[in-house]
């Protein structure tokens, strides 16, 4: 057991650091993909990474990757997040989920067409799975694709689509057969997000931001060659996408802002004296710290398994539940400490409103990418081996499944 890099890891890290020092933009516009200059900076950075083999480190070189190992990818990620934070964000869904799916289930022409430009950051992808009728239950998708000759006509709506407004292509899960049970009547397609039959509308989040979209399809025409996998195999293909999502390790679980709470407590009093000496607060700080540290070391365990060429265990499945709940609890407690000032946001609030921002972001984190409840089900079923929930829609033709409103 050793926290330090092995000589091989250290050498790689040194090489990466030197490259980043040389190449990371010095005075870049922030990596905000919503701003034109931010997106331009992101694309330029991605191209630079691709030319050096750092854009998709674990992918074979013939696909434009680096032909490297997972541990190298993780070390690069750690160093990149310090040297060029946020710049790679717009490509995460494409390279992490959509393109691996195309590589697994797509035809040769699509692989040849899409992999290279995605690696180089020339084309951005989004994932079109969730629908108003199916958030946790993604296989309940209703967006309908009807085949006429060599062409499919798609009508329906997707929701919670990150980055749809700046994406060039999307991976779309559509219903192609309403007469079979829900998992069997789905088919995957890729679509051109610039097609006029695709309309993207931003969702106004409770936090004020707009990171997600609704996407509407009105008589969108798609060639049969845009099918990814066989007709009716859409759910199997979707599982490939979601498995790739689970393999993305390392992010998300930081959240150890106990230092920030401790800083806040230094300038605040309670009725019993300085907040920094408040026993109740100190106990909570310890609880948060221990959970955040536990997540950090859990990630290290996963990284170790990957470094040793093993398949990581299920331990990383706990990260988001813990991180999101600690974030929410910490924000609420810190605001309680601020007392009436806790009501404020922005510059007048202590620490420029950091805890208020966290409070408003936390509900999203507890829901996105699998709600707390779905994740607990996943742990119970896939890790502990408890039975699946009873499903009333299992052997019923999709068109006969009760839908409520």
């Amino acid at each position: 057991m050793d926290f330090n890099d092995t000589p091989e890891e250290a050498a790689y890290r040194a090489k990466v650091k030197a490259w980043l020092a040389e190449n990371a933009p010095k005075n870049r516009a922030n990596g905000d993909p919503e701003a034109a200059e931010g997106m331009a900076a992101s694309k330029a950075w991605q191209a630079k990474k691709a030319s050096a083999g750092y854009a998709a480190i674990t992918w074979p070189t013939e696909w434009g990757g680096g032909g490297g190992k997972t541990w190298q990818s993780m070390i690069f990620g750690q160093e990149e997040s310090k040297a060029a934070p946020g710049l790679s964000g717009p490509f995460a869904i494409g390279l992490g989920m959509c393109i691996p799916t195309v590589m697994t289930a797509g035809n040769d022409a699509d692989k040849a067409r899409f992999v290279g430009p995605a690696v180089k950051g020339e084309e951005i992808w989004c994932q079109l799975f969730s629908e108003p009728s199916g958030g946790s239950d993604a296989a309940a998708a209703r967006t309908l694709a009807v085949k006429t000759g060599d062409e499919w006509t798609i009508n329906g709506q997707k929701v919670w689509t990150s980055g749809a407004h700046y994406s060039d292509f999307g991976l779309l899960l559509a219903r192609t057969d309403r007469d079979v049970p829900k998992h069997k009547g789905l088919t995957m397609f890729w679509i051109d997000m610039h097609d006029p039959a695709v309309e993207v509308r931003p969702i106004h989040q409770m936090s004020g931001g707009s990171n997600f979209n609704e996407v509407y399809f009105t008589d969108l025409k798609v060639k049969d060659s845009q099918r990814v996998g066989a007709v009716g195999d859409g759910w199997k293909v979707a599982i490939v996408t979601l498995m790739n999502e689970r393999l993305s390790v390392g992010g998300g679980a930081s959240g150890s802002n106990t230092g920030q709470v401790m800083k806040l407590a230094q300038d605040i009093s309670t009725l019993a004296g300085p907040a920094a000496k408040d026993a109740g607060l100190r106990e909570k700080i310890a609880d948060w710290f221990v959970q955040a540290e536990g997540l950090k070391y859990t990630t290290y365990r996963t990284m170790t398994a990957l470094s040793r060429g093993q398949t990581p265990g299920p331990e990383n499945s706990i990260a988001k539940i813990v991180a999101a709940n600690v974030m929410q609890d910490m924000a609420s407690s810190a605001m309680e400490l601020e007392d009436q000032f806790g009501i404020l946001v922005g510059a007048n609030a202590p620490l420029a409103g950091a805890f208020q921002n966290a409070l408003m972001g936390a509900p999203g984190l507890r829901i996105a990418g699998g709600t707390d409840e779905i994740l607990r089900n996943i742990i119970a079923e896939r890790v502990l081996g408890l039975p699946q929930d009873i499903r009333l829609d299992k052997d019923v033709a999709f068109k006969d499944i009760p839908t409520g409103r």
Binding site: R282, I318, G385, D389
Partner: protein, 371 residues
């Protein structure tokens, strides 16, 4: 980055689990629970001694195996899982560690081989009053090399041969070695929540005592011992929590209510998922603690406190919710849930409760932030 046990350590763990499955079935634990005259299982103690585990971290020159703290963690996890009713923690995590931290060459040479051979049982006698251990509560005192005073809640105090005792000589608080077979020592068994572990009150009236470590360093040494013990105990707690979750899971898969197994209800599934989450967080913190055993310093203080807090929470949650999952059967003497329910409290308090450790953790964080 290598944040896992080595292959050797994993095979040691496998060996320890198999050994304890064979030598410490729950009947052995119940043998001590149900017989008030039995204060530990002597057969198991002997067998564990023969395995060399008592001297796992004791240097070879003193008759031990000379392994690292991490290796002992692996053994601790197996012991916690099996609820081993033996004075292992007192002897190995507390007394042997105290001797290795602070003992003179002569003291080490005298005692470590005996501990490694299973000839000497140790106990760590510090507290005198309810509440967290503070220097102010220490009344036991030394005069002319003789110890007088009373120590309460001394785990394994009844069966120990050697005590490490916190006492004052004038204004200075120090640790002392006291041979309990000598004169001036009275022992009284105390009833406890977890009768599978012995606890006694030790009364010293002019008992011969020998300084352990530097005079005046008693509190610092006690904390140093507690830091190391906390890591080992965290592994015992994780082992116990694992077992509780397994028991709950297996019961939830076989018990039917309303026409289906109770493990198919989300109320049970989510509770057990939470149990898994807490146990994994505890395991990861304990791993960090195991690594920090070799580092010492601030790293160890923070890691030990984190491991202690996380593991205490995890084992307690697993023990109480595993019992709850078993329903009415879980509340009976015959089902094993209460053995873990008891041990979770015993382990959660024996090196000081989580509340105090949280305070120690935050103080260390403040110190680190200021540095």
């Amino acid at each position: 980055m290598d944040f896992d046990f080595s292959d050797d350590q994993k095979s040691l763990k496998g060996e320890a689990l198999r050994f304890l499955e064979a030598k410490c079935p729950v009947s052995v634990v119940r043998g001590v629970l149900d017989d008030p005259a039995k204060r530990y299982d002597e057969g198991l103690w002997k067998a564990v001694g023969e395995q060399g585990w008592l001297g796992a971290t004791i240097p070879e020159e003193h008759g031990g195996l000379g392994l690292g703290g991490i290796d002992l963690c692996v053994i601790a996890e197996a012991l916690g899982r099996s609820l081993a009713p033996i004075p292992f923690a007192s002897t190995v995590y507390f007394v042997a560690e105290a001797l290795m931290l602070a003992g003179s060459d002569a003291q080490k040479a005298k005692w470590l081989p005996k501990i490694a051979a299973g000839e000497t049982i140790g106990c760590f006698a510090t507290v005198e009053r309810p509440g967290v251990l503070t220097e102010a509560q220490v009344q036991a005192s030394i005069q002319d090399g003789k110890l007088t005073g009373t120590k309460m809640v001394v785990t394994d105090g009844d069966i120990a041969d050697l005590a490490v005792v916190l006492a004052k000589d004038g204004g200075r608080t120090s640790l002392y070695l006291v041979e309990l077979g000598g004169g001036g020592v009275a022992r009284e068994t105390l009833e406890t929540l977890d009768p599978t572990r012995n606890v006694a009150k030790l009364t010293f009236i002019g008992a011969a005592a020998e300084l352990l470590g530097d005079a005046g360093e008693g509190m610092a040494l006690t904390e140093a011992v507690l830091d190391r013990a906390a890591v080992y105990l965290a592994f015992e707690q994780v082992g116990g929590a694992d077992r509780c979750l397994e028991m709950a899971k297996s019961y939830a898969l076989e018990r039917y209510a309303f026409g289906r197994v109770i493990g198919s209800y989300q109320a049970i599934k989510h509770k057990l998922a939470d149990c898994y989450i807490k146990t994994e967080l505890a395991r990861s913190n304990a791993y960090y603690g195991a690594w920090a055993l070799g580092e010492g310093g601030t790293d160890l203080k923070i890691a030990a406190a984190s491991a202690r807090v996380a593991a205490t929470e995890a084992f307690w949650f697993a023990a109480k919710e595993s019992l709850q999952t078993h329903g009415g059967m879980g509340y009976t003497w015959d089902v094993d849930c209460h053995l873990y329910y008891r041990r979770a409290q015993q382990l959660g308090l024996v090196a000081g409760g989580a509340k105090a450790w949280k305070e120690r953790l935050v103080s260390q964080l403040e110190r680190r932030n200021a540095a």
